[in-house]
């Protein structure tokens, strides 16, 4: 269970990026966060694993507060929270399997991690995850040689090997063509069910959100204006959310 309570954040004084955000997500749920550019979606997502230090509130993962964690505890929380990025954020020069194994670093001693020493079991798991995302033949290829959709699947495998409770995706399909976007979204949805994950994805495509998400959270100017099951997202709400008609998006 992921619970966010009364989260506040401002980058500059008197310009709040987030005000009083509260929501909760049950395991096995795919949540989409939607809202116009600059609404604060990235800020929410990065607060959830404390890449951004928020100002106020609580973030509870299975009851324990991530916000009050010290450095060592934070590492332990972060390894339970996978992250998938719009620009994939892989080490392009390294091979696919090396990038997947990076997801294990949070579990390793500093020295073993620095020298990239992984156990046989970890390597086998990396291979089976690559198979799961359909990239078993690419294990030894450099990431720079992959297409965008393939890179994103490497990113997903990297987060899965963390054995996460939560996966955060910041616009995971914004750089992908429609077909790869569908593949990636379907993959995320299937994984959410299979591993009973909490998957939180920032999306700009409302039709995608409606199609794949179980729960939708709408953010506007740093405030939460909608938090319901996906099929309850109506025309009216979209109009308030985006300040204009976007009927076509829904089809």
């Amino acid at each position: 269970m992921l619970e966010v309570k009364n989260l506040d954040k401002s980058y500059q004084k008197d310009h709040p990026a987030l005000t009083n955000i509260s929501f909760s997500v049950k395991p096995g749920t795919f949540v989409a966060i939607i809202g116009p550019s600059g609404a604060g979606k990235t800020t929410i997502l990065r607060s959830l694993n404390q890449l951004i230090k928020d100002d106020n509130g609580e973030i509870l993962l299975d009851g324990s507060n991530i916000r009050s964690a010290n450095k060592a505890q934070l590492r332990k929380y972060r390894r339970q929270i996978g992250m998938v990025f719009q620009n994939y954020n892989l080490v392009e020069r390294l091979t696919v399997i090396e990038n997947v194994l990076h997801g294990r670093l949070g579990y390793k001693s500093t020295l073993a991690g620095v020298f990239g020493r992984y156990t046989q079991a970890e390597k086998e798991e990396a291979m089976s995850l690559l198979k799961k995302v359909g990239l078993e033949d690419f294990a030894l290829q450099r990431c720079s040689e992959l297409s965008g959709g393939q890179k994103q699947r490497v990113g997903i495998a990297r987060s899965l090997i963390q054995h996460p409770k939560v996966i955060l995706c910041d616009e995971p399909i914004a750089s992908l063509d429609p077909a790869s976007a569908q593949t990636v979204m379907q993959l995320l949805k299937d994984l959410t069910e299979e591993y009973n994950l909490i998957c939180v994805a920032n999306l700009h495509q409302i039709n995608m959100a409606k199609k794949y998400a179980d729960q939708i959270i709408g953010i506007r100017k740093g405030q939460l204006v909608f938090d319901e099951a996906a099929d309850l997202l109506s025309e009216d709400i979209l109009r308030t959310l985006y300040d204009q008609d976007i009927t076509k998006e829904l089809e």
């Binding site: 992250m83 990025f85 080490v91 020069r93 390294l94 990076h102 949070g106 020298f115 990297r158 955060l168």
Partner: protein
């Protein structure tokens, strides 16, 4: 619309003004220095003519070759070793000083200050300063090149880290990896090609500079060029210059090949 047209007109005026200022400065400068532009221009072909005749290596200058070659290799090695040592020092300093991997704002400021200090003292000045303490020796040249290279490389490496490593760094931080794991598993592999490319460039550059430093410190190829030149053995001096050019071009070709492979 209106304001962008205005902006472009204003930009046009700025450019005209800048060109006028540069031109004016030049004319004023020549007038103050009594520099006769025409005869200055005329002297250029004559100078090259003189060079062509006097500096032409003859059959006899070939016997200087072994000596020249030995000194030249000494200089190349000096350049390479100073660059490599500078690179090792710079990468650590850049890591603690860059905006994304740095320790804190204060350290970043200090590192930037040091880099710009080393970079902005001319190489010749470094050599002269170091001559006092270390006398005329290879080590003086080594140190002068080292300090200069450190100044350049710290700055270059910091920019590379900031441009190329911040995204992957964020990703690994999010997995719960520790600082050193992130540095060794994400930052260093990610920046390696650009860093190597800069080291190669610095080596090429330092071979040229080492020649100049050698004249001051009395070592390497610079020293024997100076020696031949001052003893009016112009053909041998010409041979020295020719060898330098060949080696520098050779090095550039080699490093271009290496770049092609690593990038």
């Amino acid at each position: 619309m209106q304001s962008s047209a205005k902006y472009l007109t204003r930009k046009g005026w700025y450019q005209t003004a800048i060109i006028a200022i540069i031109g004016g400065t030049y004319i004023l400068g020549s007038w103050v220095l009594n520099f006769d532009n025409l005869s200055g221009l005329m002297a250029v072909p004559r100078a090259f003519g003189w060079l062509g005749i006097n500096f032409q290596p003859t059959a006899k200058s070939v016997e200087y070759l072994p000596k020249i070659w030995q000194k030249l290799m000494q200089t190349v090695l000096l350049a390479i070793s100073s660059t490599v040592v500078a690179a090792i020092i710079s990468i650590f300093v850049a890591l603690i000083g860059s905006k994304v991997t740095g320790i804190n704002g204060f350290v970043q400021l200090i590192v930037r200050g040091i880099a710009s200090f080393f970079r902005n003292i001319p190489l010749v000045a470094w050599s002269m300063i170091l001559l006092f303490s270390f006398k005329q020796s290879d080590f003086t040249g080594f140190l002068a090149l080292l300090l200069m290279s450190i100044g350049f490389l710290i700055r270059a490496f910091m920019e590379i880290i900031e441009d190329e490593a911040s995204e992957t760094m964020l990703a690994l931080k999010a997995t719960g990896a520790s600082y050193f794991q992130v540095i060794f598993q994400a930052v260093l592999p990610q920046i390696l090609p650009s860093v190597l490319s800069w080291i190669l460039y610095m080596i090429e550059n330092n071979v040229r500079d080492a020649t100049l430093v050698g004249i001051l410190t009395g070592t390497g190829i610079g020293f024997i060029f100076d020696l031949y030149y001052k003893s009016f053995r112009f053909d041998a001096a010409g041979m020295t210059v020719l060898s330098i050019i060949i080696v520098v071009i050779g090095l550039e070709l080699i490093s271009n090949q290496i770049r092609k492979v690593i990038l």
